[in-house]
């Protein structure tokens, strides 16, 4: 009898938290690299999501007034190929019964889950992968990050308008590099400039001596670069300075190479490099200031916001708003319809989800590296309002 009572007590104790958790749980499967070469993306996504949930709570009231708990389920893609993303997405959909998928630092990962998203009707929020065509892969794809042509095109227009007559381009030898080269060249030449030479460097290159020598001899007004952020981009900028291109007055224009996380690796010679990008860390938006402060509060003084944090923050915001408006169990397409045309005050500035393409429309900022309080930072020197992905304008969807 005693034994029975004790057992009953245990059962009751176990049942208690379950009973009180009457809220519906909405699971979001987050797929990203948490280990391996691209580990930094996963941890940046996760920190921003945790920061968002700390500020806004994990519970959100649906249209019926009932509380829903938003729960993120993280899966590590281990910087492996797209097969891994596909397999883990299946697991999340079938076993974890997630309502949304999110994350994806690399384009192949996002593309590999297109069929799963479509068949299982799972709205999928892409938080980084930047190949322009991705959102055409599934009607359930919604992107909150960026596309490479947005950056390249804005850089080309800015250069043409700001006294650059001739330019040389060096891009990394893979698809995003070609996108950047293509749209920079197109817009720059449309504005009256002339590209007098172009090169494609191997993806993992860190020895740029020969490339810089060629540029130095061609004497363009500006050098446009697109290099993977990391050791190639760092080596590129260093080689540019070391070989005297800066001293020769050749202006360096890029896109993501001078993100704040990389600036401590440069010395003052990096001052003056101009980049075209969708998030500037020094912008004064209240949302940006709040996000940065929250990250530092939760993860220490070294924690910083970058494009991954901003996109994860906005993606989480979209999911919260959708559950608040439609409840925890709406049809997948209903959620997607809700996202179409949605406007957000992102930490980067205003953004909108393109109602036709489900891709992000956002301001592109032209920034310059400057020194403030003894530290290198990016400062906005220009902006283009609400830029739609130029690739999609050139390649309209087939109806």
């Amino acid at each position: 009898m005693k034994r029975f009572i004790r057992a009953a007590g245990v059962v009751a104790a176990l049942a208690l938290p379950m009973a009180s958790a009457s809220a519906d749980v909405v699971k979001v499967g987050l797929l990203a690299d948490f280990t391996g070469a691209f580990a930094v993306w996963g941890s940046q996504f996760q920190q921003a999501i945790k920061a968002y949930q700390e500020v806004h709570g994990t519970k959100i009231k649906g249209p019926d007034g009932k509380e829903n708990e938003i729960q993120f389920v993280y899966r590590d893609l281990t910087s492996a190929g797209p097969e891994k993303a596909k397999q883990l997405a299946e697991e999340l959909v079938l076993r974890e019964k997630v309502k949304f998928l999110a994350g994806f630092d690399l384009s192949p990962q996002a593309m590999s889950v297109a069929d799963i998203a479509t068949q299982a009707k799972i709205p999928t929020i892409i938080m980084n992968a930047a190949t322009a065509s991705i959102t055409r892969g599934s009607p359930y794809f919604v992107r909150v990050s960026m596309t490479i042509p947005q950056h390249g095109a804005a850089a080309g227009r800015w250069a043409a308008k700001n006294g650059v007559k001739t330019a040389y381009t060096i891009v990394s030898d893979y698809a995003p590099g070609y996108d950047a080269e293509n749209f920079f060249t197109k817009e720059f030449e449309k504005g009256g400039g002339k590209v007098i030479g172009s090169e494609r460097s191997p993806q993992q290159e860190t020895n740029y001596a020969a490339y810089m020598e060629k540029v130095l001899r061609a004497k363009p007004d500006a050098l446009f670069m697109f290099q993977p952020a990391g050791s190639p981009s760092l080596a590129f900028v260093k080689a540019y300075i070391e070989r005297g291109l800066k001293a020769a007055g050749i202006k360096l224009i890029g896109t993501g190479e001078m993100q704040q996380i990389f600036l401590p690796q440069f010395n003052d010679d990096a001052i003056g490099v101009v980049t075209s990008f969708h998030y500037t860390e020094t912008n004064k938006n209240p949302e940006n200031i709040a996000l940065r402060a929250q990250l530092k509060k939760m993860f220490g003084q070294d924690a910083d916001a970058d494009i991954a944090s901003v996109a994860a923050w906005d993606g989480t915001d979209l999911i919260y708003q959708a559950v608040a408006a439609l409840g925890p169990s709406a049809d997948g397409l209903k959620y997607v319809d809700f996202f179409k045309g949605k406007k957000l005050n992102s930490p980067r500035g205003p953004i909108m989800i393109d109602p036709d393409e489900r891709d992000v429309i956002q301001n592109i900022y032209i920034r310059q590296v400057e020194k403030r309080d003894g530290k290198l930072v990016n400062i906005d020197i220009g902006q283009e309002d609400m830029v739609k992905d130029p690739w999609k304008l050139e390649n309209p969807a087939k109806k």
Binding site: P202, A209, E242
Partner: protein, 289 residues
């Protein structure tokens, strides 16, 4: 035209000198000990990270490089006596498996301690600037690489060709059994050479970080270049590795300059051709196989 040719030569030589510094240890240990040491690049990587850490924390660049050499060398001594020694009598498969395992350990260790980002070795201001060399301005850093490489090569040349130690080393490479039979302590020679080789790799990693950037995947990413230098130069041949490293540096630079679309293949095509021509390497060390 002359200035242009000289520029390409300087670019190629400076890159080749880094390859030489890192690979020379490998070529001698592979020739001497017959150990397929795929982990050699890890010592260069550790040297680079040590120099990076110290320079980022305010230490003088040259002192930091010195510390990097010492740390890599000491680590080499520890690893040689504990991990490598039992391996000498094992087959090549065991050597490959164990040493590639060491690469993974080094990569994971570096990621854990220093993070996944590329890691900066802070050079003194004057090394990051161009300097006037008469007919043009040229990166001071690359001149520095050539100078260090040339000094190291000269010292090694003197030691290996002109000293009793070098004579012993050459004898042991030629025929280790005979060297033992005449009373030489080949084991001590092994350890000493290994340590010096690791120290030089650390030196190459630290000063070469501006050409081959420090990142956790370093030891694996550049492994093929180090092996190419060893094989093209001829196993165990110090002079061979110098010639091979410089030649590869120049070929790589020429390729990028004139055939940039095919630059990533050109180097391997050149290696292929060289090995067809001389399967034993350019300057094989052994008089008799």
């Amino acid at each position: 035209m002359f200035s242009f040719a000289l520029t390409i030569l300087l670019d190629g030589l400076s890159y080749g000198m880094v390859l030489f510094l890192i690979s020379v240890g490998l070529t001698i240990t592979m020739g001497l000990m017959r150990v397929v040491n795929l982990a050699h690049g890890s010592f260069a990587m550790i040297g680079g990270y040590v120099a990076g850490y110290l320079t980022q924390h305010g230490m003088n660049f040259f002192l930091a490089v010195g510390a990097a050499v010492i740390v890599s060398g000491l680590l080499g001594a520890v690893v040689e006596t504990t991990v490598y020694r039992p391996l000498y009598r094992k087959g090549e498969l065991a050597q490959v498996l164990l040493t590639i395992g060491l690469v993974f350990v080094a990569t994971a260790g570096v990621t854990e301690v220093f993070g996944a980002f590329p890691y900066n070795v802070k050079m003194p201001e004057y090394l990051t600037q161009p300097v006037d060399i008469g007919f043009r301005t040229y990166p001071a850093y690359r001149l520095f690489l050539i100078a260090v490489g040339a000094v190291v090569a000269a010292v090694l040349w003197y030691v290996i060709d002109g000293s009793i130690l070098g004579a012993r080393l050459r004898a042991a490479v030629d025929n280790a059994r005979m060297a033992r039979a005449v009373g030489m302590n080949v084991n001590v020679l092994f350890t000493g050479t290994f340590v010096v080789g690791c120290g030089l790799a650390g030196l190459g990693g630290a000063i070469g970080a501006g050409v081959m950037a420090m990142e956790p995947s370093y030891a694996l990413k550049y492994l093929r270049l180090f092996l190419i230098v060893v094989i093209v130069g001829g196993e165990g041949s110090f002079k061979g590795s110098l010639v091979a490293a410089l030649a590869l540096g120049v070929i790589d630079t020429l390729g990028k300059y004139f055939f940039s679309q095919a630059a990533s293949y050109l180097l391997y095509a050149a290696v292929f051709a060289l090995l067809l021509w001389r399967p034993q390497g350019l300057l094989p060390a052994k008089s008799a196989a």
